[in-house]
Amino acid sequence: MILNYSQPLEITNLTSWLDTTLRSSMSEFWVLLIEFVLVGVVLLAAYAVIALILIYAERKITAFFQARYGPNRVGKWGLLQSVADMIKILLKEIIKINRSDRFLFFAAPVFMIVASMLTFGAIPFGKGLNAIDFNIGVLYVTAVSSLGIIGVLLAGWSSNNKYSMIGAMRSGAQFVSYELSAGFALMTIVVLAGTMQFSTMIEGQRYCWNLFNGHISSMIAFIIYLISGHAETNRGPFDLPEAESELTAGYHTEYSGLQFGFYYLAEYLNMFIIASIATTVFLGGYMPIQVHGWDAFNGIMAMIPTYVWFFGKTAVLIFLSLWVRWSFPRLRIDQLLNLEWKYLLPINLVNIVLMVILVLTGLTLTDLFPGLF
């Protein structure tokens, strides 16, 4: 029943081959060192490439929403536009602001990018394709992703600009609030899955995604996670910290060149990270669609490499997020906080209790229909 078909497209084959080759010729220390460096480089490269693809995709999709063409001049269908933009941003001057707190001003974007990169490292992109598989993966991701807010607050504070300050303050309030909801929504699923480790969690969703397994409770948690995750990425309708029609550019008004690029990259990557965590926790991660007893079907599904499944599911969620972003007007700060503290949080707390009851009384789908799911 386990995936014993040959999977020529899996990257795991390549990595294990590399590992055995290295081990056959050098000592344990050097093997680990080389592998650490390789993983680091690949992650950094993936980070940049995914951001470029996302920027292009967003611009193109938005254009179609808005009856426009989107980028179509650089390269075929404007494919190279993001690359050109990246080169431009690298070449731009980093402007020093008078009367700003120089050290904090430069440190802020680093916080932002480091936090999002730390989270990025823990995501399982495919079978065996994660830098580290913590046994407390969910906790780790929640913890490090919340570091990013320090970058935002520092940016607003150190810029010595009133608009930046208002943007940062809004962001602080927003992030603290929605982090709570996102965390609770993930906890609901941890209760269901009984583990915090991503790989175990995905393995447990082989025949039934967590989204369906805990039916009512999971659905609620999923919707809450999408809303609060979307809010955490500071994108419309929750883009108050950088509301361009109010605060020009919010907390990163004074940044230019690569420093601005860091914020820009982090924004897109955070969108990806939120979508990929939702994929992993709710939608079975990199696991192909499998049905009990349909061996042939399962075999064909398993032929598709796991990373394609992962990126496919994530792409659907990202599209959802873009759709919301480009349809809704912006919330006001008090409405935003009302939504969180008066609606999402109480619902969430009740939802966790509900999930505990479901799990304890054996009302999850896997418990109800053992042969089917």
Binding site: Q66, I166, G236, S245, E246, F328, P329, L331, R332
Partner: protein, 542 residues
């Protein structure tokens, strides 16, 4: 009106009443406030709307003309005139306590003519810096550029307002601080994406809540009214397009009408049809942009593009008719410059069908969106009394329940021949203003529908003399522009140039109400309310 004349004479027996184009009453400066108050407070026909406040340099004396109307019937008009011969230190009494709209108008008169108003709570110059030498609109103004050199140094903004108050019959000069000591003040503008132009709101904030707004304007003031005093009437026409550029054609219609009425030129019927249709197309164009900008101010970028998409079709029709898109140079004195093209009717009819469909789409996409409703309903409330006092006209005025559509009150062109509804809502919030614009687009479509098939054959322009001279006198005209009432005042001394020309700017009234309706709202709502008021800055900085 006979009763009003009696009332005037019983209040101020020495008042001089003349029947010119409008009923004109001249009084001495110390009686003006009393007369205005009596007119405003009489029970039979309260003249409670200050339509025009015009600073004048009449040669010997400096003075002000006021045009008053009852808010219930804007077609009744009285002109009050007063003045002072003291050119060194001209002082008049303020009517700000009666009509709030006078406040910024009086500050404008101070900047341009140097007349100070007693009892105006804030007598800083509007449009000009406090240290400007001379008063540009006076006839004896010295235009030597060395007097007011271009400064390349940054100047701090001084938040101290001088004023003259009358306390127990004595005049006291005093200075007041605009803001408190510890106020957190941010400058929204002059360069800001949501001020719709070069507008500067100094805003004091308490957290996210707006405590007070101080308006600075004049960053792009061009002195159009002064420039016009040296230009012939056909030349001045081109300036009207550059006021509120989004209702360019309607502004121009206003000036053309004023000159035509003064010189008694008969406009051919075909030209009237074309003018009316073009005005309504222009109105839709402007309302679409206003809708788009308002949604953008609320953070919905996609809706913004949808508005622009529909507007593009109107602009295409304009371009095919006369080559211009935003500023179309269509109206001239006596008629229109270009005839409609062969497929004009077909294009417009296709647009009517298309636009009705899109209005439904707007309704589905944005008008009932839960976030949008939360950002508009109950936000930026403007009561009917304040609307009249601030003379806020247009869709914003009608959103507060004031029937102020000049097309209904003083019909011009073909508006008395077509059937259309004046859209009035009584809520007075952002959402009422928002819905009013969409409904007015529907009414404009309805108006065009009635006219488009019946355009008569004939001339498009009356024969006019090569050089147009206006007879001696004072001439007013009022039209319904996209943002409210646009007015033209010309004082002619029989020359081919106007002696004084004044435009009534609807946007100035809209902006002057902003500090009132934004008080104690959130910063985000300040932007949203600005979008719902839909002011255009070049209209203020004439």
């Amino acid at each position: 009106m006979e009763k009003i004349k009696e009332l005037i004479l019983t209040t101020v027996p020495e008042a001089v009443i003349e029947q010119k184009q409008k009923l004109t009453v001249t009084v001495t400066y110390d009686k003006l406030h009393l007369l205005a108050k009596t007119l405003k407070e009489n029970a039979a026909l309260p003249f409670d709307t200050l339509v025009f406040l015009i600073g004048m340099d009449r040669g010997e004396e400096l003075g002000v003309n006021y045009l008053l109307s009852p808010s219930s019937d804007l077609s009744k008009e009285i002109v009050l005139k007063t003045g002072t011969t003291d050119r060194e230190n001209p002082l008049l009494y303020s009517v700000t306590d009666l009509f709030e709209t006078a406040h910024y108008n009086e500050r404008e008169v101070f900047a341009l003519f140097g007349i100070r108003f007693i009892n105006n709570p804030d007598m800083r110059k509007f449009f000009l810096n406090g240290d400007w030498v001379g008063y540009p609109f006076r006839k004896d103004y010295d235009t030597n550029p060395e007097l007011n050199p271009l400064s390349i140094e940054s100047k701090d903004i001084i938040d101290i307002a001088p004023r003259i108050m009358e306390v127990d019959g004595k005049l006291v000069e005093e200075e007041v601080n605009i803001f408190g000591e510890d106020d957190y003040i941010i400058n929204i503008g002059p360069q800001h994406p949501a001020t719709h132009g070069v507008m500067h709101f100094r805003t004091s904030l308490d957290g996210e809540i707006v405590k007070k707004i101080d308006i600075h304007s004049g960053y792009i003031h061009r002195g159009i009214e002064k420039l016009s005093e040296a230009l012939t009437y056909p030349q001045i026409l081109h300036f009207t397009d550059r006021l509120d550029y989004l209702s360019a054609n309607i502004n121009r219609h206003g000036l053309c009408m004023c000159v035509e009425k003064a010189t008694e030129i008969e406009v051919p019927e075909r030209a009237q049809y074309i003018r009316t249709i073009m005005d309504e197309l222009n109105r839709m164009d402007s309302h679409l942009l206003a809708w788009a900008c308002q949604t953008n101010d609320l953070g919905a970028t996609t809706a913004f593009i949808y508005g622009m998409r529909e507007r593009e079709i109107i602009l295409d029709i304009f371009e095919k008719t006369c080559g211009g898109r935003l500023i179309i140079n269509q109206n001239v004195i006596g008629g229109v410059m270009f005839d409609i093209y062969a497929d004009f009717q077909k294009d417009v009819k296709a647009f009517i069908i298309y636009m009705r469909d899109k209005l439904k789409e707007y309704d589905r996409f944005f008008s009932h969106n839960v976030i949008a409703l939360g950002r508009m309903i109950g936000i930026g409330n403007l009561s009917k009394e304040d609307t009249i006092s601030y003379a806020v006209t247009g869709p914003a005025g009608r959103g507060s329940g004031w029937s102020c559509d000049i097309r209904k009150h003083i019909p011009y062109a073909l508006y008395d021949k077509v059937d259309f509804k004046e859209v009035i809502r009584t809520e007075g919030d952002s959402y009422a203003r928002y819905l009013n614009r969409l409904d007015e687009i529907e009414q404009s479509l309805h108006i065009i529908e009635q006219l488009i098939d019946n355009i008569p054959e004939g001339d498009i322009c009356a024969k006019t003399k090569a050089i147009i001279r206006l007879p001696e006198g004072e001439f007013y005209s009022r039209v319904e522009a996209c943002r409210g009432e646009f007015g033209v005042f010309i004082e002619s001394r029989g020359d081919k140039f106007p002696y004084r020309l004044k435009f009534r700017s609807p946007s100035m009234a809209l902006v002057s109400a902003m500090p009132l309706i934004c008080k104690n709202e959130k910063l985000s709502d300040f932007i949203g309310i600005g979008g719902s008021m839909d002011y255009v800055i070049p209209d203020i900085d004439r």
